[in-house]
């Protein structure tokens, strides 16, 4: 449909009526430029996070403590790569090529989840990442299954089906360590001490400091606000920690009531927002390392893509 000034208002009205009626928006449908831009930013950031997220865990494949642990970790990391591909596939329906998305990442114009700028120092960190980082991601992704953009929603449904194994394998690692020696228990507690706050930061700034939230909620790209999702994660995770004898590193934690389902709700301290913004702005422990590694892997893989292309062209000539 040709777009003119007169019919833009009409198209916007139809678009918003669909959003109100919970009808998903599909790639060929008209959408406001800001809606498209928000999706381009959010879905590509999500895709990059899956792919960059393979790095902290990838370091531990060769050092996994058993063959069982190694096979599980390999399968989990392969899933993360797959999730990145589902999301790039959804993001490409918005009219931006995969190469362009990757170029924006390499130029620093696109971001990924800051949590992956923290290092995985020992095996307990692999437990903490699966349990807390994947746990926080699942909380967000369950909500995003209802996002208004069809391809994004379908990718989220697929991802959520696969993610719960990720969280369980992480929690199992922590549980095992808590049944082990005192040193192992200390390692597990040290890992939650270091990963708790970065996991909470994954939900992003307070709603009041999140300028993009209002449009995203109005257009149902996001179905719940950052703070609401963070509360859900905290309420779910504290009992899991207590069950296996771990302590959340926040002395202000206090039960303040029960929700409609009878589950405890907790009061907690505020996040260190200076640290949050510092990591977002590139000054976390591993920002440079993560991006450089991605660029190097992409460049070193160029010969594979060239070979595949040459093979295709030669086989056409036959």
């Amino acid at each position: 449909m040709k777009e003119t000034l007169e019919n833009t208002a009409e198209l916007l009205k139809e678009f918003e009526a669909k959003i109100d009626a919970e009808i998903k928006i599909e790639p060929r449908d008209w959408m406001p430029e800001d809606y498209r831009k928000h999706l381009i930013r959010q879905i590509s950031q999500h895709a990059h996070s899956e792919v960059i997220g393979m790095q902290p865990e990838g370091n531990w494949i060769s050092r996994a403590p058993s063959l069982r642990a190694k096979k599980i970790l390999l399968a989990k990391i392969q899933d993360e790569g797959g999730h990145g591909l589902y999301l790039y596939s959804a993001a490409e329906t918005l009219g931006v090529s995969r190469d362009q998305y990757i170029q924006w990442l390499h130029e620093g114009k696109a971001k990924y989840a800051s949590v992956f700028n923290y290092p995985a120092l020992n095996w307990a960190d692999i437990g903490a990442i699966g349990w807390l980082v994947d746990g926080a991601a699942i909380t967000n992704q369950v909500s995003l299954q209802r996002t208004s953009y069809g391809p994004y929603s379908r990718a989220m449904v697929r991802i959520c089906k696969e993610e719960s194994f990720h969280q369980r394998q992480g929690y199992e690692i922590m549980w095992k360590m808590m049944q082990g020696t005192e040193d192992q228990q200390r390692m597990a507690q040290d890992a939650i001490d270091r990963w708790w706050w970065p996991a909470l930061m994954m939900f992003g700034p307070h709603d009041s400091d999140s300028p993009r939230t209002s449009n995203a909620v109005k257009w149902k790209i996001k179905r719940e606000t950052n703070d609401r999702l963070r509360e859900k994660f905290i309420n779910k995770t504290i009992p899991q920690a207590e069950l296996i004898g771990l302590k959340v590193p926040d002395s202000a934690i206090k039960i303040i009531g029960q929700d409609a389902m009878g589950e405890n709700m907790y009061e907690h301290s505020d996040i260190n927002w200076d640290e949050f913004w510092s990591v977002v702005n590139g000054n976390g422990p591993c920002n440079e390392q993560r991006l450089n590694h991605h660029i190097r892997a992409h460049e070193e893989g160029a010969w594979v893509r060239e070979c595949a292309l040459t093979y295709y062209e030669k086989s056409k000539e036959k």
């Binding site: 591909l85 596939s89 696969e162 893509r305 093979y311």
Partner: protein, 96 residues
């Protein structure tokens, strides 16, 4: 980088069980059909999601949606006699 785009885009369709219709799953990039079908397997069927796969070059798909041309699906709008509920049946008909 910038021009090759990891090969053209292919749409992936999965049949979950024999007898079921093929359903769109997403897309992959690949330079040729062999790589396309292997990439589709690795990306979309890591947990036995299907027993059969189709991959189709995206640019070979012809598509239309009601939002683009509202009149396109109009011929179906005024033919309610195509639905079984349109018809009156005498009392006593048990199953039809």
């Amino acid at each position: 980088m910038g021009t090759e785009n990891q090969g053209p885009v292919w749409e992936v369709f999965i049949q979950t069980k024999p007898g079921q219709p093929y359903k769109h799953a997403g897309s992959v990039h690949a330079y040729d059909k062999e790589l396309a079908i292997e990439n589709a397997r690795d990306v979309y069927t890591r947990r036995n999601e299907g027993t059969s796969l189709w991959v189709v070059p995206s640019d070979q798909i012809v598509a239309v949606s009601a939002s683009e041309t509202s009149s396109f699906f109009e011929p179906a709008d005024d033919k309610i006699y195509r639905h079984p509920t349109f018809y009156n049946l005498p009392d006593g008909v048990k199953q039809m």
